[in-house]
């Protein structure tokens, strides 16, 4: 009995301690999410809430038929598929490099991390400056006989530039995650490998990479969620319209323009729900491949 009341007491203490965070989450995250789910089944004009009508799945039907949405989805996936693997690979390499005992190690760690704390607007402005028609990049390329390109106005280059920008600004954060992972790997493992005469490359691929898989999972999932929600770079590059030729229209930019440009909060919520379903499914799939399946294989092997 005494045991039980102690358990109860510690439960109460626990809930009391997390109460502020839970309350904030309920009010600002869970509540709005549920509300928005309800909105997605309504025709809801932001300025005429009193005229809202329940229309079941009409928003979803219209959404799935809209070619602009298809393009937004395509752009977003293209962006995600390039950015996530590249930024994961680069941040892993950077973390390995920054983990070596070399001179100026702290400097490099800070230098790689600075882009992550720069605001997206600032870094986008900087890229626009670099890739301006009269900008540094074109001047540099002109030395090799290239004709100046209007990078941000060319549908072929606008999205790749947004990718470059995202990779540049996020590798720092992910490097930190990997760096923490690297420092968790016990030194004995490497020592044992050294005694067995393993080459540095083998050491990296057979020890570092597998032992980091949890961190990799985290980085990939967070990276994927972040890229599928890409908005700010596209907004700045295109001035909000998702151009040139819709090449930087992402799902969230599409949502923003529908909800706040056309006042259609219901339709915008439907976009948000679809995006949520996509992200949730992909995250679950990744979890399966990174966590569930390896464990099952392990058990089978044993």
């Amino acid at each position: 009995m005494k045991q039980r009341s102690k358990q109860f007491q510690s439960n109460v203490a626990g809930w009391l301690l997390v109460f502020p965070v839970v309350a904030l989450m309920l009010v600002f995250i869970v509540g709005p999410a549920i509300f928005s789910f309800g909105l997605s089944f309504q025709k809801y004009n932001m300025l005429k809430p009193q005229e809202a009508t329940f229309i079941w799945f009409e928003n979803y039907v219209e959404l799935l038929k809209d070619p602009y949405f298809h393009q937004a989805l395509y752009n977003t996936f293209k962006y995600s598929i390039v950015v996530v693997p590249v930024q994961t690979a680069i941040s892993l390499l950077l973390a390995t490099a920054a983990n070596q005992k070399i001179k100026g190690q702290t400097f490099f760690r800070v230098a790689y991390y600075v882009p992550a704390v720069t605001s997206a607007v600032a870094s986008a402005s900087m890229f626009m400056f670099l890739f301006n028609t009269n900008g540094i990049v074109n001047r540099f390329l002109a030395n090799f006989g290239f004709v100046p390109v209007s990078w941000f106005n060319d549908p072929r280059y606008a999205l790749p530039l947004a990718m470059l920008m995202a990779i540049w600004s996020t590798v720092g954060t992910q490097m930190l995650v990997f760096l923490a992972g690297l420092q968790d790997i016990p030194g004995e493992v490497y020592e044992a490998a050294e005694i067995d005469g393993v080459s540095p490359l083998q050491r990296f691929f057979y020890i570092t990479v597998p032992l980091l898989s949890e961190k990799t999972m985290f980085v990939v999932v967070v990276g994927m969620i972040g890229t599928l929600q890409m908005f700010d770079q596209a907004y700045i590059i295109s001035g909000g319209v998702g151009g040139p030729l819709g090449s930087t229209t992402t799902v969230v930019l599409y949502l923003y323009n529908k909800a706040f440009g056309e006042n259609r909060l219901g339709y915008g919520s439907a976009v948000a729900v679809v995006l949520f379903v996509v992200i949730f499914t992909l995250t679950m799939l990744q979890r399966y491949f990174f966590e569930v399946r390896p464990k099952r294989l392990e058990r089978k092997g044993a």
Partner: protein, 429 residues
């Protein structure tokens, strides 16, 4: 460890300074208007002890010149009416999105700027209060009817009192024209020939912003229209398509380029940097020219025409929230902000063209460069496409971009597709 501590304290100091700078900005934005001097307070006690203190918020664009002007006007009002406290609140970023969100929360400012191309949706959704009582018959006679009509609802109720307006005209670089022995173009044919003659040696004849807010005069000059008689957008009017074919022809021939193609932010930069000999812009470019190229000699003429001369107008008004606690005071503030004396301040600032005819003479005495723009007012079509104006502007921009960048697209096809999306958006309102 010592090093670490030092770093941390440095970080903390940085964080604190950033936070305090942030606060500093906040207060500096709102305080100027709410400063009440001791004099005012004394007067308040003596003259109007019975009146209740009222606080009203006026939302403006976050443009320093506008903010200063409105702040000065607000101070003048507060001096005359000590029981009223006016807070000027500049809204940075997308002011319309901010306004809409705050309207949803019933937390909008009492008085705010209202752009011609946004007003219809706010009238349609009953967010604005009638302002007919703010103006007397004499006042109404002093405004250009077209300016007022733009802010009237379907039943003729007035929902905004224009504070100023702007029109479009053609700017040209006098030196380039003199060197080439050319005179400013008057017709479309002239424009094409002049642009052709001036293109070369790193200069392009024309720099044009490829959007509805610059192309529209060409539509109207060709006998086209953006709105049907019953007030619905008609973007793919055959005359509009014909006019746009002429416009895009200038680009295809290489006589015209967008500022983006020239690698600058806007046409004003291309013009002051001698990258283009001509551009079509509004009167706001005069200020930019004074700042960026004070020695540059430029001329302004009406936009070249085909069938009839045409321009377009952009009007900004003061509107009052339907939700304000003090409609009578707010209406009086709007009356004050748009009365002859205050319009004189706008006339003197040279920011935009004051909306009252009685102030235009002073305005033109102070700012002779604006003459052409003032003269465009009677032939200017509106930058206003009803309740889905924002969608029309976006769809037009997308269509025009497609025609410019995609060699497989046709003007007809792109305009038809845009019209289809516009109709769809209208049906969904």
């Amino acid at each position: 460890m010592k090093m670490f501590k030092k770093c941390m304290s440095l970080l903390l100091v940085c964080a604190v300074s950033i936070v305090s700078v942030g606060c500093g900005n906040d207060t500096s934005q709102t305080t100027p208007a709410s400063v009440t001097t001791n004099d005012d307070k004394e007067k308040e006690e003596v003259v109007t002890p019975a009146k209740e203190q009222v606080t009203l918020t006026i939302a403006t664009y976050a443009d320093p010149l506008e903010v200063d002007l409105v702040t000065a006007q607000a101070s003048a009002y507060m001096k005359e009416n000590p029981h009223v406290k006016l807070v000027v609140e500049p809204i940075a970023g997308d002011i319309w999105e901010t306004l809409k969100i705050r309207m949803v929360a019933n937390d909008e400012p009492d008085i705010f700027y209202m752009d011609l191309f946004q007003v219809a949706q706010f009238i349609d959704t009953n967010k604005l209060a009638p302002l007919d009582e703010a103006l007397s018959a004499a006042d109404i006679a002093d405004f250009e009817p077209a300016l007022l009509d733009a802010f009237r609802g379907p039943d003729g109720t007035l929902y905004g009192v224009p504070k100023d307006f702007s029109t479009l005209a053609l700017y040209y670089n006098v030196e380039m024209f003199e060197d080439a022995g050319l005179t400013p173009p008057e017709t479309w044919d002239d424009l094409e020939k002049t642009a052709q003659a001036l293109t070369g040696n790193g200069v392009v004849g024309l720099t044009l912003q490829n959007g509805i807010d610059r192309v529209q005069p060409f539509f109207y000059s060709n006998g086209g229209s953006m709105m049907s008689d019953d007030g619905l957008p008609t973007f793919n009017n055959p005359k509009n398509i014909e006019a746009y074919e002429y416009w895009i022809g200038l680009f295809e021939a290489g006589y015209a380029k967008t500022p983006q193609q020239l690698g600058v932010n806007w046409t004003g930069d291309a013009f002051t940097m001698d990258m283009a000999a001509m551009t079509i812009e509004g009167n706001w470019m005069i200020q930019a020219l004074m700042e960026q190229a004070p020695d540059m000699e430029y001329g302004v003429v009406p936009i070249p025409y085909k069938e009839v001369p045409a321009s377009m107008q952009f009007t900004v008004a003061y509107s009052m929230s339907n939700n304000t606690d003090n409609p009578d005071v707010a209406r009086d503030v709007i009356r004050f902000l748009t009365d002859t004396n205050q319009q004189m301040l706008i006339a003197e600032s040279g920011r935009a063209i004051p909306s009252r005819n009685s102030t235009l003479i002073t305005f033109l005495e102070n700012w002779p460069d604006y003459k052409v723009f003032v003269e465009q007012a009677p032939i200017a079509s509106e930058f206003n496409y009803g309740i889905i104006s924002a969608t029309v502007v976006d769809e037009a921009a997308k269509a025009m971009e497609r025609i410019l960048l995609d060699p497989n697209s046709t003007v007809q096809g792109a305009f038809d597709a845009a019209q289809e999306n516009i109709d769809k958006a209208l049906a969904n309102q």
